[in-house]
């Protein structure tokens, strides 16, 4: 497999015209499956991510949990969130969730991005930032429902998980998948991963007694290329910032796609209007105007 095949572009931010190519592959969509029920919080995926992407090790920040730091960072893309949750029935759960970019089918970051080619979505579902085209406006931060893109004040660019597009393009699994010791992380085609998730959910519901167990693949943003199995899919919020119905702000969808062009045309009507005024009504000169010279065959004068 070469990346020419696996990383065909599907969408480009701020770009005029269509993008090339379709139908080259039988199973285009790739997916990462995260089974939160078998995560032990070992952070091997965090280390693998930092190592593969050659990012400096971060100073950890103790916040009364086992979490490495409160949130992901512009050069720390993968973070296990440790959530201590007391349920309504008094039971206690220690929930660990690997947090990173969700690679949405309808990416809010891409919708918000005003820079041509700064964000691309590949046909296989990976949403990737092209930092050389990034203008550093941080609209993607506003567009993302998962608070994923992180701004670097040093480089004035935004960074996030690439789903190891460089590895996937060469037919390899992402680094985090390779590092996981419990089999909590899986990687494959979207349909395979959904099938695996469904199987695990059924097992959790029937064998382990998690009646609310389910798959997290939010359809409000067209599904994601990172899918979770949760013990309690009815309340994903308790996994630390996993919105039940993630949404892109309307200003980056309806406003940007429809009202921006309409508004621009409406404004340009003023330009058309003044030209039309000059042609039909003509200028208004200081009075009295100099007398109009009579020319043979000329038209009559207008007094104003």
């Amino acid at each position: 497999m070469s990346d020419r095949k696996t990383l065909q572009v599907q969408r480009i931010s701020g770009h005029p015209g269509p993008v090339a190519g379709a139908g080259m592959q039988r199973e285009e969509q790739v997916c990462k499956l995260i089974d939160t029920t078998t995560c032990i919080g070992c952070k091997a995926c965090e280390v693998a991510c930092v190592e593969w992407n050659d990012m400096p090790f971060q100073p950890t920040m103790f916040d009364n949990t086992y979490q490495t730091m409160p949130d992901t960072h512009w050069n720390y893309w993968n973070l296990i969130k440790f959530n201590e949750v007391t349920n309504e029935d008094g039971t206690f759960q220690w929930l660990m969730r690997k947090h990173q970019c969700m690679h949405c089918a309808d990416p809010g970051c891409l919708a918000a991005c005003p820079a041509d080619g700064a964000i691309v979505q590949y046909r296989n579902g990976i949403v990737d930032f092209q930092e050389e085209n990034c203008i550093g406006c941080q609209f993607c931060v506003s567009g993302c429902p998962f608070n994923v893109p992180k701004f670097s004040p040093t480089t004035k660019k935004v960074y996030k998980c690439t789903l190891c597009s460089d590895r996937v393009g060469q037919g390899l699994e992402p680094a985090c998948i390779k590092a996981c010791p419990t089999g909590c992380l899986h990687f494959g085609t979207k349909s395979d991963m959904l099938m695996l998730a469904e199987k695990r959910v059924k097992q959790l519901q029937t064998v382990s007694g998690f009646k609310e167990a389910g798959t997290y693949d939010p359809q409000t943003i067209g599904g994601t290329s990172v899918v979770y199995v949760l013990h309690d899919a009815s309340n994903p919020e308790k996994y630390g910032g996993l919105p039940k119905n993630p949404r892109i702000p309307l200003s980056f969808t309806i406003w940007k796609n429809w009202f921006k062009p309409i508004g621009l045309i409406a404004s340009m009507m003023a330009f058309a209007g003044v030209i039309l005024h000059y042609v039909t009504e003509g200028p208004r000169r200081p009075q009295p105007q100099p007398p109009v010279k009579e020319v043979d065959g000329g038209e009559g004068k207008k007094e104003n």
Partner: protein, 252 residues
């Protein structure tokens, strides 16, 4: 008796209005002093810098050719807030300079009601209650004041999104755009009326003076205030002089 023109001068004789030189020739009236003209062109330049850099970001798939003017997308994004601040700073000074002259009055409401007559050039000269600025100019001025306040608030939110959060940015973005679209429409009308739409207007912002004929045509009440003469009478007299001189020419 202090003439109305002296009263006018005294009211505007602030030290800042003594900066620079404006030569007023016979047959002309002082319209804008050097300080006013300087401010106008200062925020005019910043307006266009902010407009071009802003529209390069507003709709890159049409206006991507604006961003290279400022050194590429990242540079454009970096400069745009500063262009905007430059505009707001100089316009803010102008707002204080003009606040009194821009006070809305009964005459301005009447002016707005007869906007159609203004657009269709129905009247030879403006109604006698049109002063230093007409209703349209005042409306545009106050729109820019309001728009500038909106620009600053929403612009700062978008400049420092980590402080204000993603929803505040998403809302600000729309308000910022609407303000820009209104001003884009306004700038066409402003440039048109000050150049080919109403000849003789441009020199008010370059040399600082206008002809008396321009004054009684477009701002009769202001003409009366500074000269003490009735604009209609002045026009009638100018017409008689013109008729005499053209009569002289035809006799030759």
């Amino acid at each position: 008796m202090a003439t109305s023109s002296q009263r006018f001068d005294r009211s505007t004789n602030h030290f800042i209005n003594r900066i620079g030189l404006t030569v007023v020739y016979v047959g002309e009236l002082l319209r804008h002093r050097a300080y006013t003209r300087f401010l106008h062109w200062a925020y005019g330049i910043f307006f266009f810098l902010a407009l071009l850099s802003g529209f390069g970001i507003y709709m890159p798939w049409i206006f991507r050719w604006f961003t290279p003017l400022f050194g590429g997308g990242a540079m454009t994004r970096m400069l745009h807030p500063w262009f905007g601040l430059g505009f707001v700073f100089f316009f803010g000074l102008q707002a204080f300079n003009w606040a009194a002259a821009m006070k809305w009055g009964q005459g301005d409401t009447r002016w707005m009601k007869r906007l159609r007559d203004y657009v269709t050039n129905r009247d030879t000269i403006e109604p006698p209650d049109v002063g230093f600025f007409n209703g349209g100019q005042k409306l545009m001025f106050w729109e820019i004041v309001g728009g500038s306040i909106a620009y600053v608030i929403t612009g700062v939110i978008m400049w420092f999104p980590e402080i204000f959060g993603r929803i505040a940015v998403a809302i600000s973005y729309v308000i910022h755009d609407i303000s820009a679209l209104i001003m884009l429409a306004g700038i066409f009308i402003h440039i048109y009326l000050s150049t080919i739409g109403e000849p003789g207007t441009m020199q008010a912002m370059t040399r600082g003076t206008v002809s008396e004929a321009w004054a009684w045509t477009h701002h009769p009440a202001w003409y009366k205030q500074v000269t003490g003469r009735d604009p209609a009478e002045a026009l009638a007299e100018a017409r008689r002089t013109q008729a005499r001189s053209s009569g002289d020419q035809s006799n030759q």
